[in-house]
Amino acid sequence: MLAKRIIPCLDVKNGRNVRGVKFSADIDAGDPVELATRYDAEGADELVFYDITASSDGRDIVMDLVQQVSERIFIPLCVGGGIRSYDDVRAILKGGADKVSLNSAPVHTPEIITQAAESFGSQCIVCAIDALRRPDDGSGKPSWEIYINGGRKATGLDALEWVDELVDRGAGELVLNSIDADGTRDGYDLELNRAVAERVDVPLVASGGAGTTEHIYQVLTEGRASAALAASIFHFQVYSIPEVKTYLSDRGVTVRHHAA
């Protein structure tokens, strides 16, 4: 059976791993290569490097990290953050990443997805969305708006309509990041995950809000996510990856147990 994935995310700024709360206030959370090595040994199913420097210097630093990590770690690596063009996508894949994660770029130029998926295959084109819950309009139906530039800029795009377009254009996987939940450790936005799961058929990665193993369990079951991404609970060793996986498998969720 296909296992639910646990994916630690490393937010990298100037070569250090940092962690923010609701997209701000950086806290230093360690050396990315050291962390990646620890996560690999613990049985992470994938690793995400997210470049929040988002400058060309920052990109070189992240690529250097990917290079170092991929020499000795044999699990999939995904790189995101500040990717603007088709050439950026190509350079990142060539540099040793298995997937790229696009976020703001498709809002400006949706063609980047089509073009990259045609050249490299949908399997390596991940689209991430940052969604903020809209105030209740009285309809009883929740809705979310897409934000870009690290959650700073509203786009006016409706999240559920936007995910349709991303998938139609060739996104092979979606990362759903809830701005409301990000860094709060209060739990994932289950409604957001469920609403997207009903609309599209590609795998979904839930992101933002993991605070307990129960939160992860909820989003992988009720939330219908294929994978759970988390940052701070792993960086600060609130939980280890084996602890999360044991919790999940005790409750009947299929996970991959890593034989060290």
Binding site: M1, L2, A3, K4, R5, D40, D45, S70, E71, R72, F74, I75, P76, L93, G96, D98, F120, G121, S122, Q123, C124, G172, E173, D201, V202, P203, L204, S226, A227, R256, H258, A259
Partner: protein, 200 residues
Amino acid sequence: MIAIADYGMGNLRSVEKAFQFLGHDAFVTDDPQRTRDASHLVLPGDAAFGDAMRKLRAAGWDTAITDHIATGRPFLGICVGLQLMFASSEEMGQHTGLDLFAGRCRRFPAQERVPQIGWNQISIQQPCAILDGVEEGSFFYFVHSYYVEADVESESVALTDYGLSYTSIAARDNIFGVQFHPEKSQQVGLRLLANFAALN
């Protein structure tokens, strides 16, 4: 020396790195002639079947692969590389493959999320040299939207479930194909690659 075929598709460096990590000489080449002196040949692939076959044929890889196999040297197809070893595919039209295995490549049924992305288990159907030391039920990393339907039961070495049961490892003599990415499957994947590299 292990040659890795570069026909303009996919992340080949990770396959090369995995063999090098295991202490084997491996090289990526876009020149089919360079496989003449190679002890082993690996055909990776991440792209669409039709495109991949066109590029393989245009560069003369189809002939190089047939020649390599005819001498009994070990051959391994990975992901789309496995799919290309079959007779045909229905991915975006009808395409013919390398026809090393009888069978065809089909799209996953609609009730599952496609592509299948993640770690899934293999159920071993018969002994196979590249599975030495690999346990029944081991998890490997898969990324694909199409699967192979093998016509010859004895060539279907392992099965995997995703909405249906399909062939995830095909083998005959010294030719092998795996649907998953051993180079992305941690220790168990490295073990499989080490087994392949040890064949002669």
